[in-house]
């Protein structure tokens, strides 16, 4: 099948405004969008820039706005996108070149939630034990690959770039509800701050955008509840 790709292109320091470039590629319906992007880059226009690494939905490098919604280019099939496909960089992040966006502030917020186990108490002789039920409590949020699809699909984030954003909250949730973690109070201070979870308006774009199927809005809701009623 022939597909027409409309790609929003822009190069920092060179272009004043982003512009649309169109490419036509021959592909199989079961090819992924990433394959079509490769076909463009390898055989038509080597200047097209996008990130990808593992190409199998695990590394989280190729999240982009595909036909208006955030998806991983390596996980969507052309047959599900139609003959005319629009591809844009994720919204709300500064564009470096074409589909490559700046992750600096995103990672800054990720560091802010201290996404690692904080246990001050004396470690036991072997390991810190946890029951399967305790592990299950935060299982959903362990799946995050930091692709940025949720945060850049969030209207609250678009309008307020200071908002912590769904991705950082998901990461905080993963440790907040870990029975071995002892930094609950500190974590709740960050999450309950002015630009923490209260910026969430329960729009559900993040849940729709997550390529790992994490129930992001639910996770944010659980953090709100923890701030109100204490951790459960």
């Amino acid at each position: 099948m022939k597909v027409k790709l409309r790609i929003k292109r822009f190069e920092r320091g060179k272009d004043r405004e982003p512009y649309w470039a169109e490419y036509e590629v021959e592909a199989e319906p079961t090819d992924r969008l990433l394959d079509a992007l490769h076909a463009v880059k390898w055989y038509q226009d080597g200047t097209l820039a996008f990130r990808r690494s593992c190409a199998h939905g695990v590394c989280g490098s190729d999240a982009m706005l595909i036909n208006g919604v955030n998806r991983l280019a390596c996980k969507v099939l052309l047959k599900d996108l139609g003959q005319r496909i629009t591809v844009e960089p994720m919204r709300g992040f500064a564009v470096i070149k074409d589909l490559v966006v700046e992750f600096d502030r995103f990672m800054e917020k990720y560091r802010l939630v201290e996404p690692y186990l904080k246990a001050g108490s004396e470690p036991p002789a072997k390991e810190r034990l946890q029951t399967p039920e305790e592990r299950e409590r935060f299982d959903d949020t362990t799946k995050c690959i930091l692709c940025g699809a949720c945060t850049t699909s969030c209207p609250s984030f678009w309008s307020n770039p200071d908002y912590l954003g769904p991705a950082a909250i998901v990461q905080a949730h993963r440790f907040l509800f870990d029975s071995r973690d002892e930094a609950t109070a500190e974590r709740l201070v960050v999450l309950g701050a002015r630009d923490g979870v209260w910026r969430c308006r329960t729009i559900y774009n993040c849940t729709d955008a997550c390529p790992r199927g994490i129930e992001v809005t639910r996770a944010i809701g659980e953090v709100k509840k923890a701030l109100l009623l204490g951790k459960r």
């Binding site: 802010l112 309008s159 307020n160 701050a193 630009d195």
Partner: protein
């Protein structure tokens, strides 16, 4: 983090204001649902708008419980709407001047309506006109 510096830093807690605003929105929303449906039933189903005149109000407000009902409906609706607008200003108005202007008028108008509404409910004299 509104207070997140360019280099990163600890966010400042807000002393729970946003938390209470969030709880208030949920609780008032739930109460408003019942209060507003009750209001609708009384004013439009049981009675009709043609019947609603001074005498009707005077008779109804002779009972302080109905005053409380109407006052609660008014207060909750006002504050619920106020908080919704406050949040929208917070989210979408980025310029400092417009922010201050919208927040000042929002707080001012809400306060004014709260006072006027409460005054009417409190000082209305059913006998004076009846």
């Amino acid at each position: 983090m509104a207070e997140l510096s360019e280099a990163g830093g600890r966010p400042r807690p807000t002393g729970g204001l946003e938390l209470y605003a969030w709880v208030f929105m949920r609780v008032s929303g739930l109460l408003l649902l019942f209060l507003a449906l009750g209001h609708l039933a009384i004013m439009h189903l049981i009675h009709s708008v043609e019947e609603v005149n001074f005498a009707f109000v005077a008779e109804r407000w002779a009972n302080p419980l109905w005053r409380l009902y109407d006052w609660l409906l008014l207060m909750l609706a006002l504050l619920h709407g106020f908080n919704g607008l406050r949040v929208m200003v917070d989210d979408y108005i980025r310029s400092a001047a417009w922010r201050v202007a919208s927040l000042v008028s929002l707080y001012g108008l809400t306060f004014l309506f709260l006072v006027i509404g409460s005054l009417v409910v409190l000082i209305f004299q059913p006998m004076a006109g009846g």
